[in-house]
Amino acid sequence: MQTDIFARRRNDRLIFFAVLTGLTVGSVIITQYDVLKGFTSIFKAFVWGITNFYPDADSLKKLPDILSKLWETVLMSIAATSVAAVFAVVLALSGSQTTRISRFFSVVARGIASLFRNIPLVAWAMVLMLAFSQNQLTGYLALFFGSLGFLTRSFIETIDEVSHHAVEALEATGAGYFHIIFQAVLPSSLPQIISWLLFMIDTNIRDATLVGLLTGTGIGFSFDLYYKSMNFHAASLVVMLIVATIIVIETISNRIRKAIM
């Protein structure tokens, strides 16, 4: 039996690749996708991009306008994420195995987290648009709900992983619930909580572009506007500024992460 394990591993690998190949070929046939044309189109797209999709002198005149929209989007993402984080901490404390008050609250908290996390951001934006129409608030709320679900989930895992032992010790000394939260749970998990928060801000700035496109606000709307009016130079400027912003934010959050660990 012991020698068989190697044969089994080899068979597993063969089966895996056979299935993968089967799925790929199958989907290509069903969708009548022309592989060759697909690859040559990428090249054509590149050529088009280089010849058309770059900022020119004219588009730079739009810069102040774009920057103000970008600033608006960045602020909205940060606001939505940090407010969501506050609520997520409370939900996570009642959802975590280590700190929950009762099994009932834990199930409720995990349920809320899972519901919010599993509804796609785009769906949030579309649904909220019905209620609040094309408006800053719609984008803000869409980001808020999405972040709330994701952050609660991550915080629950962080709390359970990091503070279990210390919580046991403090319970044994006779410390009360809030003592334990503020003296053991939060000090232990704060660096990771902040780390998740920074990650969420990154992600939300990217997603805010998409949400803005749908809700007609912020930098997403600028992009949509220029793109649809075939002002590709200005649209490309928007994309570059978004990329630059995300790189800057990422650098800052990496610095912060290093400092607090």
Binding site: H165, A166, E168, A169, A172, T173, A175, G176, H179, P187
Partner: protein, 267 residues
């Protein structure tokens, strides 16, 4: 030095703990402990030592039976009184269970939280007397150079001494030690055991120590309780513990490994 009391400090009567079904983790455990004894609980892994310790401060609820501590029946206690009971019982853990990102002094002062109001505890406000006491205990345990160091920068032995300090600052009548030296090298183990021994001797605090090392138990304790499969199979002074009884506690397989103990004890 040790106060003479007729009443035992701790008494267990027919304590049973079973986790859903089958074999109970503790099956009918009874013993009583007077003030000031150094007691080692020995037994193989999974024999119920940890459960036994945690039933005493109700970190685990017993299935049936009664536990009396300091004249109080512990199973009757409601929230607030249970907290008050726990302030009188310190606890030390195998993995130290400190908040690694906080400093030594902060971790030690956590031992005072049971005595504090919600607000003062949440904000971490401690009185000058409490701080003075914490510093005194830290000095006693030889950690004065580490007072303001974060605990993740300490060695295992130092972390365990912080754990001991956190228990002592509670002013406990008894300290429960759950395998305090199982994660430590022999050198640090000796330092920890010597400190525990000193605490029992000089401060008159009752100690119940779960141990894996029979020779350590023999050397340090006033009394040994041997546990196997949730039952007390030996309860008496260390020098009356025979090879056969050790084999009873650990199962006959262990005889070879523990062998030689007899000769060493002779000298």
């Amino acid at each position: 030095m040790k106060p003479e009391t007729k009443e035992p400090l701790l008494e267990l009567r027919k304590v049973i703990k079973s986790y859903n079904g089958a074999k109970p983790a503790l099956a009918d455990v009874s013993f009583s402990i007077p003030n000031g004894q150094f007691i080692s609980v020995i037994g193989p892994s999974g024999s119920g030592k940890s459960t036994l310790l945690r039933c005493i401060n109700r970190m685990i609820e017993v299935t049936s039976g009664e536990i009396f501590f300091d004249g109080v029946m512990t199973s009757r206690l409601r929230k607030r009184d249970l907290r008050k009971l726990r302030t009188k019982i310190g606890m030390i853990f195998q993995h130290y269970n400190l908040v690694d990102r906080l400093t030594v002094i902060e971790n030690v002062l956590h031992g005072r939280l049971g005595h504090k109001s919600t607000m003062a505890g949440v904000l971490g406000r401690y009185s000058p007397e409490e701080k003075k006491q914490a510093h005194r205990i830290i000095d006693m345990l030889g950690l004065s150079d580490q007072v303001y160091k974060r605990c993740d920068q300490l060695s295992g032995g130092q972390k365990q001494r912080v754990g001991i300090a956190r228990a002592l600052v509670q002013n406990p009548k008894m300290i429960l030690c759950d395998e305090p030296i199982s994660s430590l090298d022999p050198n640090s183990s000796k330092i920890i055991m010597d400190h525990l021994s000193g605490i029992s001797r000089d401060l008159g605090i009752t100690l119940i120590v779960n141990l894996h090392q029979v020779n350590v138990a023999l050397k340090y304790s006033d009394r040994i309780i041997g546990v196997n499969q949730g039952e007390v199979v030996y309860d008496g002074p260390p020098d009356e513990l025979s090879m056969t009884q050790i084999a009873d506690i650990y199962g006959s397989e262990s005889r070879d490994l523990i062998g030689g103990l007899e000769e060493r004890r002779a000298d």
